[in-house]
Assembly symmetry: C2
Homo-oligomer: 395 residues x 2
């Protein structure tokens, strides 16, 4: 096991109706003037924004609203938010929404404490030193951003999608009401589930040996969503199943599923180029890319893929031919994704095989010549994985 630091200081406020406590928690964590940041009109139509606003009024906390966050949140709105924070002397940001609203809020929190262009942090030109406190009222189980130090922003000019990780933006608190996710369309629910699974798998395929505890936590999280996801696809109002998935989404991304070892984020990296170019849902992009990545890299450590197949998908272990066990596991993953309505190949997400050179060109691999991970990838490897993804794999 490798050395590690683990830190997850977010206070989680979990359960039905708990958005009414938002104001009290803002007060507890020292906020006095709040930016409410959100996406589409759905949080208005559902009455959620009203309930959060009421809870702030009850505590006598002034607030200012900035909506309009889109999936794959854009730099343009972040600039607007930074301006509003300065103008209204805001000292606390509450994101109401999913990963996009939260990531955008985190970017505003960083940009508001920096003289220069906030994009400097995303393109590596500067190191963040300070951020406004951020909190969240979560409406979709997926990104894990409610408990994570990560934020992904897309630069509108050129469609460049980049991630940043810093403890400065870990939410102070996150309100998680699973009932809020009951109105999500099945497709969005399934995209969220896929994202959660990817966050775990990207921590599962490691080159570090003997980290049984982290392995088992990964498997626990995956077994949970595999068990619960079909329930919510069948009955969107299954509160307990929604609750299990929502909490799994958080656990998947606090890094408790990743500590003590190397990780591999190449599926996320490869997907970022897809959703940067086509504006496809992140989870749907992952459903197409991740099994292809697995198929391409499995021989790098076939026993690890065989273990996954056995412990997660219940495939019996074939010690003489572990590659067969491994392949059955990847196939089971694909079958599961299909069963919850996820796409299987490029055509189902409107991506074009002809764009593969452009996708590889935009990927950091082309600048660096190699991206590290479970198996280091060259630009050629990336092209091969996209090609496998385009046709939905060979298994």
């Amino acid at each position: 096991m490798d050395r590690f630091d683990f830190y997850s200081p977010t206070y989680f406020v979990f359960g039905d109706g708990r958005e009414s406590e938002t104001g009290a928690y803002v007060k507890k964590f020292g906020g006095s003037r709040v930016l409410l940041h959100f996406g589409s009109g759905s949080v208005i139509r559902s009455g959620l924004l009203e309930r959060v606003s009421e809870s702030l009024k009850k505590e006598g906390i002034p607030f200012f609203a900035l909506g309009g966050v889109k999936p794959n949140p854009r730099d343009t709105l972040v600039y607007e938010g930074i301006e509003l924070v300065a103008k209204e002397n805001i000292d606390f940001i509450v994101a109401v929404g999913g990963g996009s609203a939260i990531d955008s809020a985190k970017a505003i929190a960083l940009g508001s404490c920096y003289e220069g262009d906030f994009w400097d942090f995303w393109c590596g030109k500067a190191e963040p030193k300070k951020a406004l406190p951020v909190a969240t009222v979560l409406t979709i189980a997926a990104a894990g951003s409610e408990g994570s130090p990560s934020t992904v922003i897309t630069k509108e000019e050129g469609g460049i999608k980049r991630g940043l990780t810093t403890d400065l933006v870990r939410p102070k608190f996150s309100v998680m009401n699973p009932a809020l996710t009951e109105t999500l369309p099945a497709y969005q629910t399934a995209c969220g589930v896929t994202d959660i699974m990817a966050h775990v798998f990207e921590r599962y395929f490691t080159n570090t040996k003997n980290v049984e505890m982290t392995d088992r936590l990964c498997e626990a999280t995956l077994l949970t969503v595999i068990n619960e996801a079909p329930k919510v696809i069948k009955n969107p109002n299954d509160y307990d199943a929604r609750a299990n998935i929502m909490w799994a989404g958080t656990v998947a991304h606090t890094d408790i599923c990743g500590v003590g070892r190397s990780q591999d984020w190449n599926s996320h990296g490869l997907e970022h180029e897809l959703s940067g170019l086509y504006d496809v849902a992140h989870g749907a992009g992952l459903a197409v890319v991740m099994p292809a990545w697995m198929e391409y890299v499995m021989n790098h450590d076939v026993m690890r893929f065989a273990q996954a197949a056995n412990r997660i998908w219940g495939v019996s272990m074939d010690f003489e031919h572990p590659e067969l066990t491994a392949k059955k596991g990847i196939k089971a993953f694909r079958t599961f994704l299909k069963s919850i309505g996820m796409p299987q190949n490029f055509s189902e997400i409107g991506a074009l095989e002809a764009d593969i050179p452009a996708l590889v060109e935009k990927h950091p691999v082309s600048a660096s010549g190699k991206v590290g991970g479970f198996m280091d990838l060259t630009p050629e490897d990336c092209a091969n994985i996209y090609t496998l993804a385009a046709k939905g794999g060979t298994l």
Copy 2:
């Protein structure tokens, strides 16, 4: 799933040699005058206290040592600590040791910010409002106190052992070097493993339905220690196995294995009277009491015990006779405890069946008439469980 709050803000500094960073972390978390609190001479003999002291010197942080914490830490030393803190104007407490040193440090932290007798908090006469910051350098995987809001103290007069839980005493940081546990005798290692398992089982047997995520996290933690414990009993220097057990011990007690549902702490409660009276190691007491408690209460929800048997101990599920599956699971737990050298009955821990009335008399159940949990227990139930424990159960 029930509503819950989850909060685990401790910063974990995990890995070989990391005690040398203690001073840097004290500084980061605002300490300027430190109480080093520890138990026996072993931390002196091993050079650990010296290394921690050096790290404080390096940062220019004055420190004052108070050793002498005993297993089942006593109120008497807590009073000494509170006095030393006041005399030397100490603002940060670092426990170097296991659960006993940490629990004692937490008590000093609370008592130092209170005008009255610190025991007021333990006997329910007062609510704690403030505490000095506490950090830990952990030397044994067991109590989980390095990441928990709990502290258990024994009042020397009358041998009354009581627990207290408050977020105020959650460690700011905990240094966890698994290599420090390599010198522990096998018996102490096994006692620690038993304590870890108890912390999980006490959260596993619940009356709340459909909390799959918490179930799976419990099972992950148990499967890990069941896999790793025999390795360290065989080879005390198996660093990776030590590391997995140490981290499992923390995860077992941050409450991530318990959120969203009712819990049952009756095994710990019943054991506290045993180790209060006989000064037996806490883990050894649990090894005797917990399987007896399981056997006594299993019919309250036999399917839950059958699930445990199946998922944790690999017993195949007998849907027609789930009580047989459940019993096989409890038997497997006993067999496992025996295999790592844990006692099975009263005589092996020097306890007397004749003392059972006295044990029940001292237990809170006698004052209240009933203690709640998975199955509510009366004084008669408690006596019956002690009687089962005395003879090592019937399975």
